[in-house]
Amino acid sequence: MTHQINSFLQLKTLILLVIFSSIFSTTKSFSQVTHEDIQTIISGEIALPVKNAILGSYSFAKDAPADFKAQLQLAKVLASHDFHKWAQVQYMEAIKLNPDNMEAHYLSGISLELLGESESSLAQYQKCAELDPDYAPLSFRIGELLGRAGQLEASVEHLKKYTQKRPDCAAGQRRLAQSLISAERYTEAEKYLSKVLLVHPNEKTSLNSMATVQLRLGNMEALTEYQKLLVKDDVENIAFPITDIINFTVELLNKSPNFWVEKSEVFDKANQLCSSIVCLEIAHEGRPSDPVIIDRIGRNYLRLGKYRKAVRYFNSSLNIDGSRTITLHNRALAFIEIGMIQSAIKDVDLIYVLEPDNKRSSGLKEKLDTVNRGRQ
């Protein structure tokens, strides 16, 4: 019996040794991207510019192991060339250095989605949401992932949050409606689809979804009407699928700042301000001394109602070029919103020192003069 117990203990010890050796070997190999890993990654038929980009970023990351930006940059470069598993390792390194950086969590979440690791991806997005609960795209991503995991009610709640934050985003309303159809909440789905079709009366997917809703509600006359609309030639599509978001995020790292400025303008027109900011931030990385890009970021924060953040960007822009009257004008608006009227007046006064004939700010000057007179 004792012998049997000893044998059992020996076996158990052996098993534990195997387990611990696995742990340590795993830790050593996968805690961060090593020189050997980089050699593995760039081996084979990888294009020369890609090799150079990876080697260059790795060199910065290796020389500055405590530099968050250097670690994050390597992760981004790896992700941009579809090395998401390795990018993930680097994102973790970056997050260790700066656990509250939303961008690192967000990009990590995207890489995880591309790896098919939806549960881990969801965890990253949820961390992002803790860091910036107002960032609407997160609600969208979380809603989609929860829906895919079969948690329909939770998915609906997150998508509703998204539509509350972005009431003008038709793609969001449509996405919410689709989740509601899956949850067999047809009447609610109809409400959101109606909103989409008000803005985009010929949008194909919404027309199809509306037809589905009418079919399931038993409204056969309405169904026929939607079917008639669907056979028209001018149906449009406003789809904004995850693949677009991800392709966009991955693609972004390869493109020139101009590309991202243009991309931001597309988002601006669609009133998708957070997405626009993401584009502008990338453009800013490529052209850190461009006051126009920084001003545009500030302007979008202003439009989002994040006035203090907007002021910080306007300050940065004016530090580079203090003669930008547009930025002074925007900063004045932000100052007004946070009650710093005197600062706003100073900015507007400076506009007229720099450009005595400025017409854009005349209305603002009049208002501020009125306020100032009232105060006096």
Binding site: I15, V18, I19, F20, S22, I23, T26, T27, S29, F30, E45, I46, A47, L48, P49, V50, S80, H81, D82, F83, H84, K85, W86, Q88, V89, M92, I95, K96, L112, E113, L114, L115, G116, E117, S118, E119, S120, G147, R148, A149, G150, L152, R174, R175, Q178, S179, I181, S182, E184, K204, T205, N208, A211, L215, R216, L223, A239, P241, I242, V250
Partner: protein
């Protein structure tokens, strides 16, 4: 060790994302300990995998009877399943002993040609009328370098001579198609009682008429068939209810070998479908005199060009007419609802079967129409690319449509990291529900590389296959360990077809792989219930059997299966219906194409029965 390797490598993926802190260290210890204990538990099962059970002489002597005769040997198996315990592998790789020695070969060292990634179909059918099942395997060919012996580049026909024993009978069979074959379909187009073969090629497709005795002849030209595109799947159906089989052929893209694609790192990569214009599918109407006419335009099928891969037939609205569901790669799926006047209307978007629940088009590959939750309605299951889950569309009822219930069914998160192609839905352990078997294999290499022995260009494209066990309510759990012979192998798999190859009452599997041998798995799962195989027989002037619905009882449940050869990916399944049931009933109901219902009473289960049209009790 194979099983442990796979588990640790999966776990490493997970651990990559865990920060190195002490608290995480301990959680990692727990996770790995848990993983290791699971692995160790199943080492005996995995280790015993190499010890193949010899096929007993008595089994070799079984001559499968039809018509209510029971198989004494199988009854004995059911009463006393000697080796079928939970710790034994449920699916045993018997490829080596089977005599099927076949590898789908692409003669290229690097990724690139799209058609090379599409892979290869399988047909399992009784070619020679001897009641056992024979196998026809698709082969690539037109990328062969000059001087390569032609045998390597032709489709191969394996005749079963004893249970699970095959010989290569290609030579002289007339089935040695030398095109670049992707899919295969089998069906009796001329109603002579012998299944014929349609071969989907990149280039000219071919129709082979079965002459009997394992002999075929190419009748493509005399049948008036001239399909030159990139055909992937084909299926037989009687869409016009005229008593003969018509043919639907999926067409992928307007392929151009000169088009080169690279991945984000600049490496050569298999092109996706969007690199080419999509093609339009083809519907051929059988005129009844051995000829076909192309009715794609009049039927409305070719209004849409959509890179089609998989196709299944079902009567979605219970009007007795076969409808067509097509899985498209990167385009919305189509559900062509048969209007009864020779025309079809795509109602997939309105019926909720075109896009996934996020409103996204997915990369549809293989497709199955089957009743996963025993509600007598055929659900749809489509396999997809990495980052998309495989998707199940639950049938909510005739004229109501489908809802994507993948997440609720437990099928979403486990499939997101894999690329599914072939799919089979069968009752593995005879417990009255359909389990799912997915053949996985990447088309873009990514950087999650599994250890494997796959030769280039697929070395970095291999991944394990998956088994999902149905809990009886349409909810699935992925199964990794007990059946590890099937799921531990890391290959670039494409098609999967089930069939009772050894006629022992349970369903075995054949899996095709790129650059590695096609595998044959014998089902050794412990049996929870009894089995029944139903063969349908039509009569002259009556409805065809293809597309009939067969229903059996299992206690309170009604089991609904479709008599169809066309399902999965690019493949043909045997023309027979298999049931497993824990509390089987004796009544079998058949709904023949056209909607006529007949009831048949059978004496007992654990047998093969043949039900003939007109001999049942009409409802």
């Amino acid at each position: 060790m194979g099983c442990i390797d796979v588990i640790i490598s999966c776990d490493r993926l997970f651990l990559d994302f865990i920060p190195k802190s002490m608290s995480d260290f301990f959680s990692r210890v727990l996770k790995i300990a848990a993983m290791a204990s699971i692995s160790l538990t199943f080492i005996p099962a995995c280790s015993s995998d190499n010890k193949q059970k010899p096929i007993s002489n008595s089994k070799l002597e079984i001559n499968t009877p039809l018509e209510n005769e029971s198989l004494t040997q199988n009854d004995a198996d059911n009463k006393n399943p000697p080796s079928k315990t939970a710790l034994n592998p449920w699916l045993v790789d018997v490829t080596q002993q089977s005599g099927i020695d076949f590898t789908y070969k692409i003669h290229s060292e690097t990724a690139g040609p799209l058609i090379a990634a599409v892979g290869s179909g399988i047909a399992i059918f009784d070619a020679d009328g001897d009641s056992d099942l024979d196998v026809y395997l698709a082969q690539a060919s037109d990328t062969l370098p000059k001087g390569t012996p032609s045998k390597a580049g032709m489709n191969r026909f394996f005749e079963q001579i004893a249970p699970m024993k095959f010989i290569d009978s290609t030579e002289g069979s007339g089935l040695a198609d030398e095109g670049f074959t992707m899919g295969v379909a089998s069906g009796d187009y001329n109603n002579d009682g012998l299944p014929d073969i349609y071969v989907c090629n990149n280039g000219q497709d071919h129709l082979y008429k079965n002459l009997g005795g394992g002999q075929f002849t190419n009748v493509t030209t005399e049948a008036g068939i001239d399909i030159q595109g990139t055909s992937v799947s084909a299926g037989w159906l009687d869409y016009d209810l005229d008593g003969d089989l018509d043919l639907y052929v999926t067409q992928y893209v307007e392929y151009d070998i000169k088009t080169q694609c690279t991945d984000a790192a600049g490496r050569k990569e298999f092109c996706g479908p969007k690199a080419f214009p999509p093609s339009k599918d083809v519907l051929l109407q059988n005129t009844g005199d051995g000829k076909f006419i192309d009715v794609s335009t009049e039927s409305g099928i070719n209004k849409i060009a959509a890179a089609s891969l998989g196709v299944v037939f079902l009567d979605q609205n219970a009007d007795g007419l076969m409808d067509i569901y097509v899985a498209n790669d990167a385009y919305a799926n189509n559900l062509y609802v048969n209007q009864g006047d020779g025309k079809f209307v795509d109602l997939a978007p309105i019926l909720g079967a075109a896009l996934n629940m996020n409103g996204q088009k997915e990369a549809g590959m293989g497709v199955i129409a089957a009743d996963f939750d025993n509600d007598s309605l055929l659900d749809l299951f489509v396999t997809h690319l990495v980052m998309e889950s495989n998707t199940i569309y639950k049938n909510l009822g005739s004229n109501i449509g489908f809802n994507d219930t993948t997440g609720q069914s437990g099928l979403a998160t486990s499939s997101m990291a894999f690329t599914g192609f072939g799919v089979s839905a069968m009752d593995l352990e005879l417990d009255g529900d359909l389990d799912l078997f997915i053949a996985n294999g990447k088309v873009t290499r990514g950087d999650s590389i599994f250890k494997c022995n796959t030769p280039p260009p697929f070395t970095e494209y291999s991944e394990p296959n998956h088994i999902y066990l149905n809990d009886g309510s349409g909810k699935f759990n992925i199964d990794k360990n007990p059946l590890c012979e099937f799921s531990k192998d890391v290959r670039t798999s494409r098609s999967i077809v089930h069939a009772d190859l050894d006629r022992d009452g349970d369903l075995d599997l054949i899996v095709s792989n790129c650059q590695e041998p096609t595998q044959i798995f014998r089902n050794d799962a412990p049996r929870s219930g009894q089995w029944l195989v139903v063969d349908l027989l039509g009569i002259k002037g009556g409805p065809v059997t293809e597309g009939a619905t067969v229903m059996a009882q299992d206690g309170e449940e009604i089991l609904t299966r479709t008599f169809t050869t066309c399902k999965g990916y690019a493949s043909a399944f045997p023309a027979e219906v298999h049931f497993g049931a824990v509390n089987p009933g004796n009544n079998i109901e058949v709904i023949w194409p056209g909607g006529i219902r007949e009831n048949f009473n059978i004496e007992k289960w654990n047998q093969r029965v043949q039900l003939t049209y007109g001999e049942g009790e009409t409802k």
